[in-house]
């Protein structure tokens, strides 16, 4: 087996009032897009910042290519924080040039502008960019040293759907170049779209880890049925079905659709609002933690 690019071992980060990371261990092989999933406050960003070498853990280790994080890691890592401020009064090109100057090797600025669709904005003040444009600039900055490993901390939070989709395309293009990516997100569609492997984190611990489809197969039967809570008679809750209640709906997972439908009809449950869909990571999270991801 090849040496992992990143290895996190028994990572713990304690603050006076809370343990943000509580014994995380995982490995990220070269070329993989590894996703850390979890709700706000789960410990994703803390884990990420320890992995990026800018936050010291209370205990545990992070190694890069089998060595502790050091000068080589700083040269070869690209980072996009959840919220990154830039120096004022600099254009897009000047912002890139500033960061390019901090690394011994890297990419040509024009090439980065092209890659991140920023050519038309090269002369614009970085404070006058839209949310999506700014994220593209921050991605370009993260790529300025032609990194081996790229950290993306909730890169599309706050972007509109179109900007998110554009950003995903960029990340896929970067991934296609063989870069290793570590991504945190609380968007399940983002993780499904981009990640080869995910670790679901809750209260600072990994509750499940693996390839997204494999995890779904392991935890769910083929079909998931949804009914509005209001349309579900209280008496029907005692039916011999695998039910999960949320604030607004009842979810039924089943591997025998015909039998389940017969049971529901027999119990007088109105099926006019019934929705049927394959389970996704959101359902998996709910299943594993008992609470919703975006709570």
């Amino acid at each position: 087996m090849s040496v992992p690019i990143l290895e996190v071992r028994d990572l713990v980060k304690r603050y006076p009032a809370v343990t943000a990371v509580d014994g995380l261990s995982f490995q990220v092989p070269p070329g993989m897009c590894f996703g850390l999933l979890g709700p706000n406050g789960a410990g994703k960003t803390t884990t990420m910042e320890i992995m990026e070498g800018i936050l010291a853990p209370s205990s545990g280790t992070v190694s890069y290519r089998g060595e502790p994080l050091g000068e080589r890691f700083r040269e070869e890592a690209g980072i996009l924080f959840q919220a990154t401020a830039l120096q004022h009064f600099l254009t897009v090109r000047q912002s890139l040039a500033l960061f390019r100057g901090l690394y011994t090797r890297g990419r040509d600025i024009d090439e980065l502008l092209r890659l991140c669709s920023l050519e038309a904005l090269a002369g614009r003040d970085n404070r006058k960019l839209s949310g999506g444009q700014r994220q593209r600039l921050l991605l370009a900055i993260a790529l300025v040293n032609d990194p081996t490993v790229l950290f993306l901390d909730e890169p599309t939070t706050g972007l509109d759907p179109q900007a998110r989709r554009n950003f995903w395309e960029l990340v896929r293009a970067v991934k296609a170049q063989g870069k290793t990516i570590v991504l945190t997100t609380h968007y399940m569609d983002e993780a499904e779209m981009l990640c080869d492997e995910i670790a679901i984190v809750d209260h600072g611990r990994i509750v499940a880890q693996g390839e997204p489809r494999r995890l779904l197969r392991e935890h769910f039967a083929a079909v998931l049925l949804e009914l509005p809570r209001a349309a579900f008679p209280p008496a029907a809750r005692t039916l011999p079905l695998q039910l999960l209640e949320t604030d607004e709906r009842i979810e039924i997972t089943t591997d025998d659709l015909d039998a389940t439908l017969r049971t529901l009809i027999g119990a007088g449950v109105p099926l006019a609002s019934l929705r049927m869909r394959p389970p996704n990571l959101e359902d998996l999270f709910l299943e594993l933690t008992g609470h919703e991801l975006r709570a």
Binding site: I54, R74, A85, L86, L102, Y103
Partner: protein
Amino acid sequence: MIRRLLAVWHARNLEFLRDRGSLLFTLVLPLSIILGIGFIFGGPSRPLFTVGVLGGPATLAHNRFAHTRYLRFLPVASRQAGLRAVRHDHIALLLAPGPPLRFWVNTHSPKGYIVEQLLRAADPGAVRLPVSGRQIRYVDWLFPGILAMNMMFSCLFGVGYVVLRYRQSGFLKRLHATPLTAFEFLSAQVLSRLGIILLITAILYTVVGAMIHFHDAGNLALLLLIAVLGAFAMIALGLTVSARLASEELVNGLLNLLTWPMVMLSGAWFSLAGAPGWLRWIADALPLTQLLHAARAVMLYGAGLGAIAPNLIYLAVVTLVFLGIGAASFKWRI
């Protein structure tokens, strides 16, 4: 509308009151300035002008002029020292006991003029003697002080505030994720501000100097060395203040706490000749005093490197100490 206003008002009050450092400085700073100024310049019989007396004030005991209120009479060791003080406008008059009473006055000095009128009213027979050599106008004496103060404000606030803003906005955190070291970052800030302030000072020196017909008696290269060391010391001080703090109001308070005593005590506006020894001791410890002493010595009196070496060494030591403290305590993030 009132409800919204009150909500914002309440939140802002909480923010201010919970920022203990800022709260403390909001109280401590004006209090210390008022008490300090009151102590230094207050008192019921605070003298307004200083008069030097050859042979000591006792020799004037029978002259009416010696009883003029609000004048301070200081003993002067020699005529040479006394004349230098007159030329440099450090004392309003130099008196030699008579009869007839003789006096020397700097004809460019407003305070010299006023005290001369007082003397003539008290002793019409007093004889004025000529002061040889170049006499320094108040504006000449003030000019280095203005340049030095501008340098101090620019370096302290220019560096202190910028580093604070970078930290508050998270820009420092982003830089921390690159191979950039704290030493490299701080050095870049120091060099950037140094270049800017030297350029600004050179422009002011040239333009204002020409406007007031300032005659520089010293060596320009030496003046540049003083400016570089002085700016370094002020920048180092600014970096130390902002090395790890994240509160804008606290940094503002601290910077004011540093700049105000320097403005008042460095001798930028008025000479501290005649001030109590302990006050001069405090004043001498301030980097601006050392910078100004060296600058005036060169600009006004054409002093050489040897004469100002102690000031330069002091500034260099201050720079190293504060840069050391600043670099050791530097924090990239809030």
